[in-house]
Symmetry: C2
Subunit: 464 residues, 2 copies
């Protein structure tokens, strides 16, 4: 009271105006009640888990460009149809068909020990018998960039930077440069091959793969990630001060370009069928695990959220809810870029979007990138998600890697921010399997997604 | 007081006599003070960790009968000598030289997925192109034993029994029969190959190997363990009710018998050099990891305990402290049996023994198998270990797998019981690496071992 008493009359008027705006933008109570019902229903639904169980059991690994990605596309079309989605279709995506053939590494001096490695995605091969050489060790990619070519030429470069664990996954960005750019930087300096410490937070003998990017004008060398315990071992050997030599044999195949597809399923809007609320996830995975957390969980959640709204309501929501399962995310957001290119002319009909691609940890915060007039709706979403332990975050939503391609073209977005504390223990490893997913956390996610999708499809205003 | 008042005179006399016996059996306070000093010194010693770091970094995997086991034997001799042990020698042990060459498995129908397997130790090979067949699934070895041969013939048997987690490792015994005996039982019924769920408590894609035993009069078939997530996957496929087919390709080599050795280092007793306190551990490991918890920790602890007593005292204890690093434990206690055979005539000079072969978890209880007259000394040990969180257990000590061979011949023993809650997450996997060892827990172990070894060597009485 005292605070208001000290405010100037103009400020008070402004507050009143804002308050009215909030009321007019806010959802009607019947819609909010329905959203709360959907949320509570999601908390007892096993549909997302069943979809994830099916995808990981019946398809499993689905490397971009592989026959298994094609198999996953068929799986998704079938599931969309079985669930009774109003419209199901695919949109073509061209992607490089790269294959891991074999990989091995061993320390050969001054001690002898085998090492666990995983070839990085899109890596070339070493010579057929492998590459042998002394290690040139750098603590970071930046240290390699500052080295003289003499320190690196004819050596096997080892970059040992460690990824730090954080709920938001904020350790990933700084660490992952070594994976993306290391091979071209080391290759330009005459290295024979590149080994990096896995970009991951676990301590298991399961290396983390992930795509690399070659500069086309630089020599291409083979590259792999060591498991974190193997990287520790190499560091201990190097600490003894004597040269350490390795042999690395990586064989891969590039079978050229192949056509895969984004798979799309829609619940069509009752009154505004051309206005789209986009729920995104990616259908491809790495080849080592079964893609349960990356991104089977996202696939299952987005499909199940749309389906729950469809099955639980007597009428469709006003707007269309479109689930897009992107192709070939892991090798450069290929499907999302194809979608953005194909839909740039109807991007204004993409009312808002969100992506689930951070595992199956619970949602703990909701952030948005929307116009000021839509903020009360976001607040309503957050309030409904409060019962799930979700808070309203004031960070700006990115839309995620895939849906972010559409955000670049002006589409509003929310981020359903998940607890990713353990995500990078599993990410891109053989350990990305169904047993790592907590069914309860999946239900909590489903509840949050259902609230978002339903309110976004039911609120008549613009999020821009 | 009331209790004593009601006792008969004869009982009171007996109590007096016992009390005198306790006093004469108990340690003198100078010895107890010295033991407490040694214990506290151990808590700040990094020697066990340094030894373990050296063994896992400079030698690594040391499969029984391999060149790496020979390398480990050289490592141990060198370390004993560098630490100034009074006597260092080896005793020959003959062992089969078995080698893992390659292993792969995949589901081929009704779905297609690769599986992570590890060949069981001493397994024969499948035919060169592998074995292909439908799964015959049994929940337990007992269920397989009850099956009719028609259910098994020409199939690939899958036994899915789960090991349960317990601090004492009590889940191991019931589960491990499938690994030891499964191949001969399935082979006798005409199976093509055996796959078992890993005998382990983790959920990583790192299968647990371990030795199998063939009945010489039954057909030998190849056998491997699936990682636990892979076993889950197969079970989910089987739950769908349709036949599931696999291909399994296991290639191994048996290179015949080879000579390895037990490595022995002694701190010789000052007054009773022929009386031996035996500290045991095994030097061999499986080939997948670096043998940090199984049993590098035991090797490091027993060596460091004897060395700490030697380095910290002006005089040697009365009795000899003998560290025996057994060969080829993993493939049937081969080194321990050889030691027992070689030393059966001087077993009466083996005053007491103990073994460290349960990882690097903290010691939480002390049990003994000694004569009644020696119980007060065990109680003194337990009292001194109380400061380390150790309690006196009333269970009967076994001496462990290796030292137990000497207990069978009448040698008294104690068990320094460790918390093995996580031990079977790592046991016999590629994940058995140095990073899994907590240096603090290693120091706590060292302190307990030092108390035991010193008091056993310093107390003049018999433990029999």
């Amino acid at each position: 009271m005292q605070l208001i008493g000290t405010l100037k009359p103009t400020v008070m008027l402004l507050l009143c105006a804002l308050s009215l705006a909030v009321q007019s933008a806010a959802m009607d109570s019947a819609t909010l009640d329905k959203a709360a019902q959907l949320r509570d229903q999601a908390l007892t639904s096993d549909q997302a888990y069943k979809l994830l169980e099916s995808l990981t059991t019946e398809v499993g690994p689905r490397l971009a460009g592989s026959d298994k990605e094609l198999e996953a596309i068929e799986w998704a079309k079938t599931k969309f149809r079985e669930m009774g989605f109003d419209k199901v279709w695919t949109e073509p995506v061209k992607v490089k068909q790269w294959q891991r053939l074999s990989e091995s590494a061993a320390v050969i001096a001054p001690f002898t020990q085998p090492l666990q490695i995983s070839t990085l995605g899109h890596s070339v091969s070493t010579p057929p018998g492998g590459a042998t050489g002394e290690i040139a060790h750098f603590a970071t990619l930046e240290a390699l960039e500052k080295a003289s070519p003499g320190e690196v030429k004819d050596k096997i470069v080892f970059i040992s930077n460690r990824m730090h664990r954080h709920k938001t996954g904020s350790g990933y960005g700084p660490a992952v440069r070594a994976r993306g750019e290391g091979a071209s930087i080391a290759g330009a300096m005459g290295a024979k091959a590149l080994l990096i410490r896995s970009i991951g937070t676990d301590s298991h003998r399961l290396p983390h793969t992930g795509v690399l990017r070659y500069d086309e004008d630089k020599p291409k060398i083979a590259a792999a990630a060591l498991s974190n315990p193997d990287a520790d071992l190499l560091e201990r050997m190097l600490e003894r001060g004597n040269p350490v030599s390795l042999t690395v044999n990586i064989q891969t195949r590039d079978k050229g370009e192949v056509e895969v597809a984004n798979v799309i399923g829609e619940i069509q809007g009752r009154t505004k069928p051309d206005e789209v609320v986009l729920l995104g996830a990616h259908l491809d995975s790495w080849d080592l695990g079964t893609g349960a957390v990356d991104d089977g969980a996202g696939v299952a959640l987005t499909m199940a959220a749309a389906n729950l709204i469809q099955d639980s309501l007597k009428q469709r929501p006003y707007r269309t809810i479109r689930v897009v399962l992107f192709a070939a995310e892991e090798v450069g957001l290929v499907g999302a870029k194809a979608y953005a290119a194909a839909h740039q002319d109807d991007m204004d009909k993409h009312i808002i979007g969100a992506e689930s691609d951070f595992g199956a940890g619970p949602v703990w915060a909701l952030s948005a990138k929307v116009g000021a007039q839509a903020l009360p709706v976001i607040d309503s979403m957050a309030q409904l998600m409060g019962a799930l332990g979700v808070v309203r975050s004031d960070s700006i939503a990115s839309g995620g890697p895939d849906v972010g391609q559409m955000v670049k073209l002006g589409m509003p977005a929310v981020d359903l921010m998940q607890d990713g504390t353990d995500y990078f223990d599993l990410h891109h490893t053989a350990d990305d399997t169904l047993d790592k997913v907590d069914p309860k956390a999946l239900q909590q996610n489903l509840a949050a997604w259902t609230v978002f999708a339903y309110l976004a499809a039911q609120w008549p205003g613009s999020f821009r």
